[in-house]
Homo-oligomer: 155 residues x 2
Amino acid sequence: MQLTRQTDYAIRVMMFLGIQQDSRLVTISDIAYHFDISRNHLMKIVHKLGQKEYIQTVRGKYGGMRLEREAASVRLGDLVRDFETTLDVVDCKKLTCPITGSCDLKPIMQKAQEAFLAVIDEYTLKDLLNNPADLRSLLGLDDTEELPLQVMAVS
Amino acid sequence: MQLTRQTDYAIRVMMFLGIQQDSRLVTISDIAYHFDISRNHLMKIVHKLGQKEYIQTVRGKYGGMRLEREAASVRLGDLVRDFETTLDVVDCKKLTCPITGSCDLKPIMQKAQEAFLAVIDEYTLKDLLNNPADLRSLLGLDDTEELPLQVMAVS
């Protein structure tokens, strides 16, 4: 029982944007490089973050993205709801279960899922940015914040 | 964010055994046939249910399995803990995340996961067997409880 990779990466992107100084614009390549994850996986996630108005994107040579809202107003529960493909803990339809009509498992799992989301709803992106200096250091973000040339070439 | 198929099937096996009259012994083929799921998937699950002492297995021509304990003493939370491959909602190691050392997401997700399990721990297998007649009917379990000949041939 895990969050999908999509949700995991969406949270990472938001954290990466949250630790940028002076709301600096960053590219998908920046994030892919510093988290060592695939640009392809990030493309869809960044697109959806834009659609859902979590981030602002600026086109052009010096374009990139930054947070659309204050970190304190981005609820983690909303990110999870927006990025998980399903919130059903058991998918009765996918496995075409014959007892769906009289099964008491689903309401129990729904109650448990609500308890899970209620906890996450207490937190915002700001709660993930308590140690920006540590995060920046672990991600190898130095003062100049420049990518190696070979990475810039494909950004 | 879903339970694995393994956990889903483990719960179904336990429900199937729970609605048997007079603790009748059933085979993997019985369960595979009535839930319309693969025998291969069920084999590993039944083996583990035996190992974890949820079920009793009887070998031989007229062998099969039945519940080891009263349904009211089988906590759903235990089944979930025993069958989920991981209880970590985010797997920081699998995706080798560089910020693991200073990331505040994991403790939040752990707290949410505990809230999830706390709800499930309030329920037992007995709570899934409130309507045994309905479940038996939906599963096509008639009075004679005999499998079609072609299914018995591979059981």
